[in-house]
Symmetry: C2
């Protein structure tokens, strides 16, 4: 049966299908560090909508599971494949099909990298706002599949707000066109929005119509502030929002994060405070807004510097960018992704402190403070050589406490990374059993044979 | 059977259920002017979530159709009821349950009027951005059910962008909590977004968590511009967007609209041009942006005046606000709602001109020019006294041509009013049969017995 399916796939796809061990191996993992127990059956590198359709038609006929995959930069195991599965990569479908400055839209294939696409827009004075930290390496298709967030969301929205329409191949190979080219449109149920963040469980995105923005005018002002404790930093970030200032970026780093960055970059940031707040204002009023931000920070016990110089601004933001490399230098890292209402940030940091104490571990945490999205990080001891990295059950217990705290404060398990396989076991706790059952039924409408990304999310 | 159901409803709901002829009559129509052929069976005025649940539990058991209804200000017949149907009004559920300035959110019941709610926010320096022209008379529940647009959407987004979470009662009476209190959240399928714009076909919204904004800083600048023809006005609006200016408001009125307003207000606007563009800029850079807008308008043949005086600004916008009353003074009006990509506005006006010629009728048209959403209006001759207003088949044919033109230009049947019953027959043309079938299946997942707003949308 499997052989018959593979023969059909080879006949239909030719060199687009590969069973090379290296290709199969690389699809066992993503940037979460999680590795599946076994290698998948084959990798299809689609180069056209027809390739995607052919793959799904055959997979549907033979009831073979298909794992859609972009650049594999996910942090929740949503594109990880295992034995018996076909990996359907759209990474090679990476063309810009249309750019319309007049309509502030572009039509792109899913495999284009967010950063590459944005580079190509700059000469037109345009910009695609979704900005996950992975933008240099993640695809727009992947950004859509996870409804990716990033640093700019409080001001510029999440991926969902930047998508006008999608072309999607259903599990049975049919092609659907969802959404519009117009800014507004309310004809029927909003299946575009339903598809965004569905993590490859409802269909395969093969084309996207993106809403672009004009590049903000004016200069960017960057502020680096240090506080005696993380709660004052969180309080300052809440006060900045409450003052009606809308910073483009507002990132918070705690003591353990600063220590890791100090060790990695050879700096001594920790001597300036035990928490750091990085703020960027943009637009024509950026300098005046930065002054107001500075005043708030200082009134709440922070020590801060501000700059409208691009190089100096980049130097300040580089501190934040060094965070993940700094942690990875210490071992394997499990990056969590809870979000809480902004006013709950100080309390969430208190809860994280309590979990650190209970389990006797450090949980270095950074937060997109403007939107209440925290990334607490668990360091996992290195596996023995040749062994797969495993998250110890004790770490999962600590993560479970973290999720429970976020839910209790009115938040969510995952602000921007998605559920994938890593958060599946907690999903019912957030959604409730009635909603989870309803979501499963919707999944069945799109994919009655359950071949699309099985075992993910649900 | 019906009697048994009514007895059960009366037992459960007491005085909340009414069969008064006046209550039944008013639920036969909405602001579209369309009137159903017969009166519904009863009207339930829910005062609590429990009232909504009780009504749906009984309706589901007896398979009785239920029409959810707010203030009845819809323009597509989405809340119109007829024989055998129970009208479930959430208009009396109109409390603000929570207001959190720190989290820039509010939790409200669905029946609160958009305008009333915004009035209550002003003292906190906050604002709920969705601004349908009906804001003074339409409910937030209705705004959500139709994903209402309005004048400010190009800059501030549609209703979907302002909703964090919903409580929804399903067709069988179960209560679901969807979404989050946090700005970000990607746990599972985005059922909040799916519910927004579903026009009462998937569930009854009983509570909403709204994302609020800080009131924009600075003064508002208002520009009134007149052009020799509607295509230059449309070209100017496209040029304003392309220049990277993001006006809060950009409204376009054509010659027939200006004539109607002149007649209604006793003005002579038509002597200044055959098309009018009204623009408002806001925020700290509003005056500088207004100057740029003026320069663009003048370079494209427009004659314009600008003001940062609130009274003068209000006087200019009053021209736009007089449009619907001015038309209604001439007879019954069918308000259409197509949207096209912004660059297609001039072409769409050309197509409307061709339809006017073909059918020998005037189609006064206003447009939210910033987002390409046009409201072409068909005047319908008054019915004989005692007769229901009817849209003649010839007008529907002209409307059909209009829809076909919008779709051909990459647009949609409905930018912000919804499908209801009035656009149902064209929906398949926009969505395609595969998508329409999929939408119907999703509807069945939520409402397997088909009791929720039957005959609407699908």
């Amino acid at each position: 049966m499997t052989d018959a399916a593979l023969t059909r796939l080879r006949d239909a796809l030719g060199p687009a299908i590969s069973m090379e061990p290296s290709a199969l191996e690389s699809a066992r993992t993503d940037k979460s560090g999680h590795v599946s127990a076994t290698a998948p059956l084959a990798v299809v590198t689609a180069r056209s909508v027809e390739d995607v359709q052919a793959t799904l038609r055959i997979a549907d006929e033979f009831r073979m599971p298909v794992v859609p995959r972009g650049a594999g930069t996910g942090l929740a195991g949503g594109a990880i494949a295992e034995a018996g599965e076909i990996v359907l990569s759209t990474l090679a479908m990476n063309r810009v099909l249309e750019l319309s400055p007049a309509d502030e839209l572009a039509v792109v294939e899913p495999g284009i990298l967010n950063g590459d696409f944005n580079d190509s827009l700059r000469e037109h004075g345009l910009w695609f706002a979704p900005d996950p930290a992975s933008r240099a390496i993640s695809t727009i298709g992947g950004n859509i599949a996870t409804n990716a967030g990033g640093l700019l969301c409080a001001k510029y929205g999440v991926t969902r707000e930047a998508i006008l329409g999608l072309k999607v191949v259903l599990a049975d190979g049919r092609l659907l066109e969802l959404g519009h080219r117009s800014v507004k449109g309310v004809s029927g149920l909003d299946l575009t929005a339903l598809m965004i963040g569905s993590e490859g469980t409802l269909g395969v995105i093969v084309e996207a119509t993106l809403r672009l923005r004009q590049l903000p005018r004016g200069t960017v002002a960057t502020i680096g502030a240090y506080f005696p404790d993380v709660r004052s930093a969180a309080t300052a970030s809440a006060a900045i929002t409450a003052a009606g200032l809308a910073p483009a970026v507002m990132e918070l780093l705690d003591a353990a994060s600063l220590h890791a960055i100090d060790a990695y970059l050879g700096l001594d940031l920790s001597s300036r405070g035990t928490a750091c707040l990085l703020v960027q204002t943009d637009g024509v009023a950026s300098a005046a807004e930065a002054d107001e931000v500075l005043a708030i920070i200082r009134s709440l016990g922070g020590e801060a510097e501000s700059s409208t110089d691009a190089v100096e601004g980049e130097r300040l933001l580089a501190i934040r960018r060094a965070f993940h490399p700094a942690l990875e230098a210490q071992g394997t890292v499990l990056i969590e992704d809870v979000a809480v209402p902004r006013s709950m940030l100080p309390e969430m940091f208190r809860r994280i402190g309590a979990i650190e104490e209970k389990y006797g571990i450090a949980i270095p945490t950074v937060a997109h403070a403007g939107d209440g999205n925290l990334h607490p990080n668990f360091l996992i001891e290195e596996s023995a050589p040749g062994e797969l990295p495993q998250v110890p059950e004790r770490i999962w217990e600590a993560a479970g406490d973290l999720f429970a705290a976020a839910l209790e404060l009115g938040g969510t398990l995952t602000g921007e990374h998605g559920v994938g396989i890593l958060k599946r076991r907690w999903l019912g706790k957030e959604l409730g059993q009635d909603q989870l059952a309803l979501q499963r039924e919707i999944k069945r409408v799109f994919d009655p044979r359950g071949i699309l990304n099985p075992g993910k999310v649900f």
